[in-house]
């Protein structure tokens, strides 16, 4: 399968847009899939000093093949460091060494609080989801959090979470606890980019993809989504970005489906 450089898939668009948001960042905590693609592309473009840390404990991976999990054997062989879990979670993450953490979720609300536990009641859920994993720690301890959501609809962008798994700083502050970071600052979706700068602020629509109207984004969002005065249209992936993504980052098109 080849694509001409003026055409791109939704995955390519999300990976490119997320990569640009990593400009000048130093350390990123990335999961597998789009976050790995975005971080790897950013390393080759806007963030040459970027160090990617995986939840499994791998720092400075030099994989021979695109990893299929955050713990893929190819991430370990030839890596600069492999840290035990208490060191990774305790010293690196809780220690405050991560600039940007990537998270996904089943549901997100206007303050960037996330649900990855259940649809319905926790005690008798309609759908039991995988649960917190390390997401709660990524949220509490990264300087800021980027969320990538392929699907932008009212089932995912909700007025009220069924369950708050990973709370942003607003909810923590309401309990009198001050977290390290700003919580979710960027949400990249199939429709555009939502952003907020930190506690007290709601997510606003700051950019739409070419051909997407603000009205369509607002309709697809479960709360009354504010639109930035200086709303922009996302610059489409450049030929250079697409070439790097296709030829260097994911030549086997493992995630660029």
């Amino acid at each position: 399968m080849t694509l001409r450089t003026r055409e791109y898939t939704s995955s390519e668009l999300l990976a490119v847009v997320a990569s640009r948001e990593l400009r000048a960042r130093r350390t990123v905590f990335a999961g597998i899939g789009l976050p790995t693609l975005a971080a790897s592309l950013a390393h080759l473009t806007v963030a040459p000093e970027l160090e990617i840390v995986y939840e499994s404990g791998v720092c400075g991976a030099h994989p021979s093949h695109l990893p299929e999990t955050i713990a893929d054997a190819v991430l370990i062989t030839g890596a600069e460091a492999v840290l035990p879990m208490p060191v990774l979670f305790g010293y690196v993450l809780q220690g405050g060494h991560i600039d940007v953490g990537f998270l996904g979720a089943a549901q997100i609300d206007r303050f960037g609080n996330l649900n990855s536990s259940v649809i319905g009641d926790w005690h008798a859920p309609k759908v039991r989801l995988p649960g917190p994993g390390g997401a709660m720690e990524v949220m509490a301890n990264s300087r800021e959090v980027f969320v990538v959501m392929r699907r932008h609809d009212r089932r995912s962008f909700v007025d009220e979470l069924d369950f708050c798994t990973s709370p942003g700083p607003d909810r923590a502050l309401a309990e009198g606890v001050r977290p390290l970071g700003a919580g979710v600052t960027r949400v990249v979706t199939e429709l555009g980019i939502l952003a907020r700068s930190g506690p007290g602020e709601q997510l606003r629509l700051v950019a739409v993809h070419p051909g997407v109207t603000p009205g369509r984004v607002r309709e697809s969002t479960g709360w009354d989504l504010a639109v930035a005065d200086d709303l922009v249209t996302v610059e489409p992936p450049t030929a250079a970005e697409l070439r790097l993504l296709r030829e260097d980052v994911d030549p086997g098109r493992v995630y660029l489906r």
Binding site: D72, M85, A140, T165, P169, D170
Partner: protein, 312 residues
């Protein structure tokens, strides 16, 4: 120095012996290994021996937990992630949790670091362990073991979790000597903490090696012999997960598990064929066949040696 030091204790036994001796009905059993070195073969032997009423403690409850659930071994699960890696769902777990079928499952949920801190507290014999997450989460509202403490310094409140001290911890590793000095490379996860926290510990290894191999690199020993009760040699015992440098992950099996586990009959048939009808893990390995294993083979990437030095 002593010329004839007594031989170190030999703790080797078969998997059957180790599970019979160290896993009892009603026990709290920790099975650790984060994606890497998951003690699947030990889980299968627990199923073969028909243990009941176990509390399973495992950060990433994945395929082996779904199998233990389906085999009726488990009455309670303590975990921070209940999914089939990124490859899909655990059918049996979802039935137990979503509709109490065929019976309810007691479920105690933490975050990954919450679980790690429970092991840290357990290993360090601490009454609690503080951490920086949980504030604002709904998790403490459904898990009353997650509490707070006020710091005696700046007076800030911080969440804490209680220790976990499993009756037995079972981990898989690349190699150990007969006394239980266990060496792991690649992802080392939380295995050492889970072993130190436990009353008893079983270490399953790809190979038991000569004392000299272990002793050529003492920094590689992440679990010292004095906390190990049984050493079991069980090659390929981590399948479908992987053992760095020994065999790769069986991603196809992970992807297939969602479909297998979605249908209770198909899941029971799978258990009957692959667990109950295999006498032990060697039979399971043989049944998969040499061609299958060739597909998971890995090449060589050797570490460069370091010099520990010798007094001249």
């Amino acid at each position: 120095m002593p010329r004839s030091v007594p031989a170190p204790p030999d703790k080797t036994m078969t998997m059957r012996e180790a599970i019979a001796a160290h896993v009892h009905d009603g026990d709290t059993v920790s099975l650790e290994g984060f994606t890497h070195l998951i003690p699947t073969a030990a889980g299968h032997e627990i199923i073969r021996q028909g243990r009941r009423g176990l509390t399973i403690v495992r950060m990433t409850a994945d395929i082996v937990v779904d199998q233990l659930l389906a085999a009726g071994c488990v009455s309670k699960l303590v975990s921070s992630f209940v999914g089939n890696s990124s490859a899909g769902s655990l059918g049996e777990l979802r039935r137990r949790v979503e509709s109490a079928e065929p019976e309810p499952l007691e479920f105690e949920e933490y975050s990954h670091y919450g679980m790690i801190c429970r092991y840290l507290a357990g290993a360090q014999r601490l009454p609690f362990y503080p951490l920086r997450s949980y504030a604002g989460s709904d998790l403490p509202s459904v898990n009353t073991a997650i509490r707070t403490v006020t710091s005696p310094y700046a007076g800030e409140r911080v969440y804490v979790v209680p220790p976990v001290n499993p009756d037995v911890t079972i981990v898989h590793a690349q190699r150990a000597d007969r006394a239980g000095n266990t060496q792991v490379w690649g992802l080392t996860g939380v295995q050492a903490e889970a072993v130190f926290a436990a009353r008893r510990a079983v270490v399953v290894v790809e190979e038991i090696v000569a004392d000299e191999v272990v002793r050529s690199d003492p920094n590689r020993t992440v679990i010292p012999a004095h906390v190990v009760d049984a050493v079991v040699e069980c090659p390929r015992g981590a399948h479908p997960s992987f053992a760095q440098g020994y065999y790769d992950r069986d991603n196809a099996f992970y992807r297939s598990w969602s479909a297998i586990s979605r249908d209770p009959d198909r899941l029971q048939a799978w258990l009957a064929e692959w667990v109950h009808s295999t006498a032990d893990h060697a039979a399971y390995v043989a049944k998969l066949g040499t061609e299958f294993w060739a597909g998971l083979e890995v090449g060589e990437a050797l570490s460069l040696p370091v010099n520990y030095g010798r007094r001249l």
